[in-house]
Structures are given as structure tokens and as C-alpha cells.
């Protein structure tokens, strides 16, 4: 059901943990849906220098968190903002249709963490370009 890449990121998740005094934190999902992701970003000079996560969820949720934190590390905020759920899923060599919402959650987590940082900086939060219609998710709790 899962690609080898998903299984690798599930079994050896990168960047598990919290960042103390993180520059931005994104908490998404809810326990009723069976998925919660907390994304922690350390941001220096507009660049993400560290990214960590804690996730309650299925294999795809854990792998998506792991991959998303990998993908945004070292990126500028603008670049990180553009990391889409599709990019996360592709980097994982695909997700089953019923699990696509996990990659969406990861994208939302990153966005939320970035905007948390922007708010703390007194900046306008960025607006979702195309708020997820979740077209590509076969079913998705709470959407």
C-alpha cells in the first residue's frame, strides 16, 4: 500500500521533536480525525534553519511530516511557502488516494508555522493561494 519511501520516512522519521522557543509553530488536524501535526520552525534571516515535528496519526501522516520538514529546511520562507502537498507526496513517491489528505495537512502545518512567525514579527499573514478544495483527497475528515 505504501511506497518504500513512505515506509522509510515512517520507520526512520527525520526531525522528530520540538524546538524550544521556536520561531513559528503550526498545529493542524484534530484528534477526532485521527491526525494531529505540530510543526516547529526555527527561522533566521528569512531562512528556515531547523524544522521539527510531532505527529499523532497514521503511517502517511508521520511520513508526510518527516518529508515536509526535510523539504523546507534551508529554504527561504517564500520558497517554503511554495512547497505544496503535491510536492510532499511526490517526494514520498506517491501516497494512496485515501491518504493524500496527510500531505495536505503537512502543507497546512508549514503554512501555519510560517504565519505564526510572521504574526509574531508583526507582519501580515500570507493568504493561501488556493485553499485546498481537497479535490484530490478521496475522503478527508473535517473538510
Amino acid at each position: 500500500m505504501y511506497s518504500d519511501k513512505v515506509m522509510d520516512h515512517f520507520k526512520n522519521p527525520r526531525n522528530v521533536g520540538e524546538i524550544e522557543n521556536a520561531s513559528g509553530v503550526g498545529e493542524v488536524g484534530n484528534p477526532v480525525c485521527g491526525d494531529i501535526m505540530n510543526i516547529y520552525l526555527k527561522i533566521e534571516n528569512n531562512v528556515i534553519t531547523d524544522a521539527k515535528f510531532k505527529t499523532f496519526g497514521c503511517g502517511a501522516a508521520i511520513a508526510s511530516s518527516s518529508m515536509a520538514t526535510e523539504l523546507v529546511r534551508g529554504k527561504t520562507l517564500e520558497e517554503a511557502w511554495d512547497v505544496s502537498n503535491k510536492a510532499v507526496a511526490e517526494a514520498l513517491e506517491g501516497l494512496p488516494p485515501v491518504k493524500m489528505h496527510c500531505s495536505v495537512l503537512a502543507e497546512e502545518g508549514i503554512h501555519k508555522a510560517i504565519n505564526d512567525y510572521r504574526k509574531k514579527q508583526g507582519l501580515e499573514p500570507w493568504v493561501e493561494k488556493n485553499p485546498h478544495s481537497h479535490d484530490d483527497t478521496e475522503m478527508s475528515c473535517g473538510t
Binding site: 515512517f10 522519521p13 522528530v16 484528534p31 491526525d35 501535526m37 515535528f53 510531532k54 499523532f56 501522516a61
Partner: protein
């Protein structure tokens, strides 16, 4: 992909076919392949084999052979029983009573009938998954034409008070169906003593082949046909008979019911050691289902702060086959309707694990799971945002 040894703990999802059963089936593919409806000798061999299997099933249930109808499995039996009774009695009434914890083969069938104009009452269950006979009695109306209550639950293993529930339906002259797919081989069944009018079973749950089952229909029960066509199964279920499958079902049910008590004692001893070990070793774990009135091989435990699928994936990596609930929903995102019906909060129901033991399991299997599972749970909790340390508070309780 670590493990090479497989520890199969998902016998409620399906069982392997026992070698005796596979051997009994083999000749009916290539040798005794005649169509039992035909007139010549080789076809009469097929007919005899089916008659023998029918007698085996009848004997296992305390029924008469001509009350047994072979089907393609538990789902077809459930669909046939429920739609067949509903459509045949439409003029009498439109009300069906079932429970909130049935298998989807019953629930989705009832939901379909709701779209066709029937009214369905889904009886609630208590925290252990038990249906109350008083609630059944209270739900019956003038319009009630069918009561369908499962014998034993496939997720939490709870065994319902079938004889008592059946007696209430009988008193009101309402046909009583029970989905006994998980019960056969684990509980001594006597359809007459237990007031059962229709009973569904499926061979692959008791070491028989997949794709074959049976429906017991008490003589005189008014029921429509589900699969129309040729005159097979005394004109009630059309289709060239799956002879090999039927022979396998007969053999498997005979083996499974030969010594239910002996079999259960062995399985229950293993199960209890595993269940108690898990509860002792892992904090924030809670047993679902009834402490005693449960299938001998069933364990269903919720682990707080973590999610079930990720537990399964780790166990699979260690060669342990398990499930979160019923097999057919393990790919789904919805929390178990059974656990919710017992009052378990949604967020905790997501972290449930079902282990179902069978004839292959050994003490070594139990030891291994008791070694592996606590590590898996710890690992997942450590990456869970809900878990604040062993004794710390947490935001879901």
C-alpha cells in the same frame, strides 16, 4: 522489512485453510467436477458431496439439512436474510430492528433498505458491547418484520445473549436472524434451542475456503430469493454450486465444532496471557469489549495518544499480522462504529488494536508480541504531540 517469521494474529479477518480441508477439496476441481444438476454418474458424485456437506453444516447448528442453503460467504448470507425477509414481508410491515454494532454486511444492507422505504432501529449497546433484551422488547412495534442481531462481534468479540433475544422475537412471531460469522467454531450453537430463524456463516473464518458460506433458514420462513436463476439449492439460490468450496466448508465446520470446549480452552489460555501482559506492561491502555462474554481468541485494546495504523505498520515490520478493527475497514479513515457505540471517545478509538488468536498460535508468539508491542507504543507516543510523558497530563482525556 525486518522479520522473516510471521506471527498471524488476525484470525477474525480470515484464516488459512487447514490442510485436511484443502485435501478434501482438491478432487472436486479436476476429477469430480460434474455439474450436480446433471443426470449422469459423475454429476451424481458432485451431488452426493454437496449433500454430505449440507448434513455436516446442519449437524453443527442443530438444524435439518434441508434448512441449509449454500452461498458465496457471510456478506451474501446477511444480504439474503435481511433483504429476503424484508421484501417478502413488505405488506406486513416495514420495520427492522438491528444493532449499532453489526458488521457492515448488515448495517449497509439496512441502510439500503432505508432508502427503499423501510424503517430501521439500531439498538444501542452498553460499554461492553452488549445488547439489552429489554431494549429489543421495547423497540418492537406492530410494523416489525425482522430482528437481526449478531451472535458475536467481529471487532470487540462480545457475545450477545442470543437465546434470550431470539425468545423475544419468537414471542412476537418476528423472524430472528443472527450473523454468526464470528461465532461458528467458538460458541456451541443450537438454532432450535436458541430460537434462531436465520443464521449466517462464512467458511473462511473457521479454516475453510474464502468465497463460500451458508444461510440457515428455518423451515416455513417466508423469504424472497436474492440470486434468481436455475433450480439449485431447492430453487432458492441459483448458480452452479461451488462444489469444492462447499466440500471445504463441510469439512471445516465439522473440524471446528468437533471439540469447541477443548479448542477454546487452549486459545483462551494464550489469549488471556497476552491480554493481561499487554495491559500490565503498557500504561494508558484500555480493554474494549466484555471481560468474560467474549470470543476466546479476541483481544481489542485502545492505546491513548497514538493512532492504530501506525501500530500495525510497526508490528508488520516485526512479522506480526494484526488489525485495527474489521479487515474491511482497516484501509478507511473512519473510526470504528463499534467502538463508538460502546461510548469510547473518537480520539481514543483511533488508537485501537485487534489481535485475534487461532490454532497456529503458540506461547512463543505471545512472548514475542509482549516484547515488541510495548516498544512500538513507546516509540509512537514519543513522537505524539498528545503525549506529555508517562504520568503527565494529556489533552485528550
Amino acid at each position: 522489512m525486518g522479520a522473516t517469521r510471521i506471527i498471524y494474529l488476525d484470525h477474525s479477518a480470515t484464516t488459512y485453510v487447514k490442510p485436511e480441508v484443502a485435501n478434501a477439496m482438491a478432487p472436486y476441481h479436476t476429477e469430480h467436477f460434474g455439474n450436480p444438476s446433471s443426470i449422469y454418474r459423475i454429476a451424481r458424485d458432485s451431488k452426493k458431496a454437496i449433500d454430505a456437506a449440507r448434513a455436516q453444516v446442519a449437524a453443527a447448528l442443530g438444524a435439518e439439512p434441508d434448512e441449509i442453503y449454500f452461498t458465496s460467504g457471510g456478506s451474501e448470507s446477511d444480504n439474503w436474510a435481511i433483504k429476503g425477509i424484508a421484501f417478502a414481508n413488505r405488506k406486513k410491515g416495514n420495520h427492522i430492528i438491528t444493532t449499532a454494532i453489526e458488521h457492515h454486511a448488515v448495517i449497509h444492507t439496512c441502510q439500503y433498505l432505508e432508502k427503499q422505504g423501510f424503517a430501521v432501529t439500531y439498538l444501542p449497546v452498553d460499554e461492553f458491547g452488549l445488547v439489552s433484551p429489554a431494549a429489543l422488547e421495547a423497540a418492537i412495534t406492530e410494523q416489525t418484520i425482522l430482528v437481526s442481531i449478531m451472535y458475536a462481534n467481529n471487532e470487540i468479540g462480545t457475545i450477545e445473549p442470543i437465546a434470550e433475544l431470539g425468545a423475544i422475537a419468537r414471542k412476537h412471531k418476528i423472524p430472528f436472524h443472527t450473523d454468526a460469522v464470528q461465532a461458528v467454531g467458538n460458541v456451541a450453537i443450537d438454532v432450535k434451542a436458541q430460537n434462531i430463524d436465520l443464521l449466517s456463516l462464512s467458511a473462511h473464518k473457521f479454516y475453510g475456503p474464502k468465497g463460500v458460506g451458508a444461510l440457515y433458514i428455518r423451515k416455513g420462513t417466508k423469504i424472497d430469493t436474492l440470486i434468481h436463476g436455475g433450480g439449485q439449492e431447492r430453487r432458492r439460490r441459483a448458480g452452479t454450486e461451488n462444489i469444492a468450496g462447499i466440500v471445504g466448508l463441510g469439512k471445516a465446520i465439522a473440524l471446528a465444532t468437533a471439540d469447541i470446549e477443548g479448542h477454546n480452552a487452549r486459545i483462551r489460555a494464550l489469549r488471556d496471557r497476552l491480554m493481561q501482559g499487554i495491559l500490565a506492561k503498557i500504561p494508558h491502555a484500555r480493554l474494549n469489549g466484555h471481560p468474560e462474554k467474549r470470543l476466546p481468541g479476541n483481544i481489542n485494546i485502545s492505546f491513548e495518544f497514538i493512532e492504530g495504523e501506525s501500530i500495525l505498520l510497526w508490528l508488520d515490520d516485526e512479522g506480526i499480522c494484526a488489525s485495527t478493527g474489521s479487515a474491511c475497514t482497516s484501509g478507511s479513515l473512519e473510526p470504528s462504529h463499534v467502538l463508538l457505540a460502546t461510548g469510547l471517545p473518537v480520539e481514543i478509538s483511533h488508537g485501537s488494536l485487534r489481535l485475534t488468536l487461532g490454532d497456529v498460535n503458540t506461547d512463543a508468539d505471545v512472548d514475542f508480541v509482549l516484547e515488541v508491542l510495548p516498544k512500538v507504543v513507546t516509540r509512537l507516543r514519543e513522537m505524539s504531540p498528545l503525549y506529555k510523558g508517562k504520568d503527565g497530563g494529556c489533552n485528550v482525556q
